[in-house]
């Protein structure tokens, strides 16, 4: 009755890639997600008209800060909402059951979903960064100087993927898209404010990642790229937390019932 076709397949990057591509396709067909991209791009463009409200700062600095702020804030909202929505969309439609009853390991499914969301965030950051670069270049900024602009955008991207990983962690055991997206946003807020935790009763918060480290405004203000050693340490910090969140989420998801 059973033959070689029914042997247990090894873990496969191909399946992860398929799930990621499918997730990205789903995301790009969601109106809410497209709205984020269009609104974000419109806001970055809108900084040209808002530059009169620059509170005394230099025009280019204002546009840069505003644009990166849009990428950071819009991206944080997108990371939490899209992760929760794309994760629960397949569960509530029962399409996930068709995937998870195949020889697909649960961690492969979870990592595939996360990779799809990461691809979406990459597209979001790239699109808005291109719009911002065009706006800044149009006002005479020298973007090529030292790669500061690229570094700032990369930091934003790293921050957003961490928010998506936090939300994925919540999704792995949460029961609803509303809870998962709200909890994901609250965890992102806690991570953003983590730098203010200080000592005393709030010292336990130090186990949580500090998203403030990825804020790029200081980088832009300094006008020169960050030291390679600092960037490497930050990348290791990012990778460690990402791995931790994905491993815990995979463990929780393995026990999840449908």
């Amino acid at each position: 009755m059973t033959d070689a076709r029914h042997n247990v397949p090894a873990a496969s990057l191909r399946r992860i890639r398929l799930i990621a591509r499918h997730t990205l396709g789903e995301a790009l067909h969601q109106r809410l997600i497209l709205l984020f991209g269009v609104t974000g791009a419109a806001l970055v463009l809108g900084s040209l008209w808002l530059r009169d409200f620059n509170f005394g700062g230099a025009e280019l600095k204002f546009i840069g800060d505003f644009g990166l702020g849009v990428i950071g804030l819009g991206g944080t909202l997108l990371a939490a909402l899209a992760t929760a929505h794309l994760f629960f969309g397949e569960i509530t439609s029962r399409a996930a059951a068709c995937v998870l009853t195949r020889p697909v390991r649960r961690w492969e499914y979870l990592i595939g979903k996360f990779a799809g969301v990461t691809a979406l965030l990459t597209l979001f950051v790239l699109t808005l960064a291109l719009v911002l670069a065009a706006v800044l270049a149009g006002r005479g900024a020298q973007l090529g100087a030292g790669g500061v602009f690229l570094q700032a955008c990369a930091l934003q991207w790293m921050k957003l993927t961490l928010v998506a990983a936090m939300t994925m962690l919540v999704c792995s055991y949460a029961g609803s898209v509303l809870f998962a997206s709200c909890a994901g946003l609250l965890l992102a807020l806690a991570a953003q404010l983590r730098g203010f935790s200080g000592g005393g009763n709030w010292s336990w918060l130090r186990v949580w990642p500090e998203l403030g480290l990825f804020d790029a405004e200081a980088l832009l203000a300094a006008g020169h790229p960050a030291a390679a050693a600092w960037l490497l340490r930050l990348a290791a910090y990012w990778a460690a937390y990402l791995l931790l969140f994905v491993v815990i989420a995979s463990h929780a998801f393995k026990r999840r019932e449908f």
Partner: protein
């Protein structure tokens, strides 16, 4: 049921029980209580019973989507939900909704990729399944435009795409018109003729009587009766069930109208 000691049962529940806690603080509710049931390879088993009788729970346990609270649940000798068991199972959940932006062919190609079929075999199986399920003409149509019946046939096609020895169908006739039900019966009988084991849940007694080798009647999570239709119906067997005659009349009238 007589079964060789060498070949494992296609399906084996031994004292299987499943209970849920609907809320964190609520008391546990029993979905299935001590179910013991075996099915030999190549047979068609119909799980019959009212809503809440435990049919879907039993199917989900076989598919590895839920874990037993007590007892065991095995598929061809492997613990249900294990990698080895999932490689042998095809599953159609109740009323699934697949990504509306995909075409029927794209969806099956996605499923084939997840089932670890080699690309050439995947292409061949996708073509075969589209023809087998009668969706060849609609293969390039978006799933958002599919009717309920077409969606169910696509669901069935994805469940048998990798030619699994055990096919699990949760309420496959749900929402189908009489012609759709007849098509479904034909597909189930075809699977049985190919030596596949099929377990499906249904409210439709006439359908179950027509296609099943064995029937299991469940009520409030308990197995009320189990056997072949002849064993269960006994002297009542000759009486044709009224819904079947009504379906025949309905179909005759439709044909006359055509």
């Amino acid at each position: 049921m007589i079964q060789s000691t060498e070949a494992p049962w296609a399906v084996e529940f031994a004292g299987f029980a499943k209970s849920y806690r609907p809320t964190w603080t609520g008391r546990r509710l029993s979905a299935v209580e001590s179910l013991t049931l075996r099915l030999a390879p190549g047979q068609v088993l119909g799980l019959l019973g009212p809503n809440g009788s435990g049919k879907s729970t039993a199917l989900k346990a076989l598919a590895g989507l839920i874990m037993p609270t007590r007892g065991t649940c095995r598929v061809f000798g492997h613990a249900a939900g294990s990698d080895a068991a999932r490689a042998l199972v095809g599953y159609l959940p109740e009323s699934p909704q697949f990504s509306p932006h995909l075409t029927g062919r794209e969806f099956l190609e996605y499923c084939a990729g997840l089932s670890a079929l080699a690309p050439a075999e995947a292409a061949r199986r996708v073509d075969e399944m589209l023809q087998w399920s009668g969706l060849g003409a609609a293969a390039r149509q978006r799933l958002g435009t599919y009717s309920k019946g077409m969606g169910q046939r696509l669901g069935l096609a994805q469940a048998v795409l990798h030619d699994p020895p055990l096919v699990l169908l949760d309420e496959p006739a749900s929402g189908l018109d009489p012609q759709g039900r007849l098509d479904l019966n034909r597909l189930i009988r075809d699977l049985a003729a190919r030596g596949r084991t099929v377990v499906f849940s249904s409210h439709l007694l006439a359908q179950a009587e027509e296609v099943c080798d064995r029937l299991a009647l469940l009520g409030q999570g308990r197995l009320l009766a189990e056997g072949t239709p002849a064993e269960l119906l006994g002297a009542r067997r000759p009486a044709a069930p009224a819904p079947s005659r009504l379906e025949q009349l309905y179909l005759e009238k439709l044909r006359e109208n055509d």
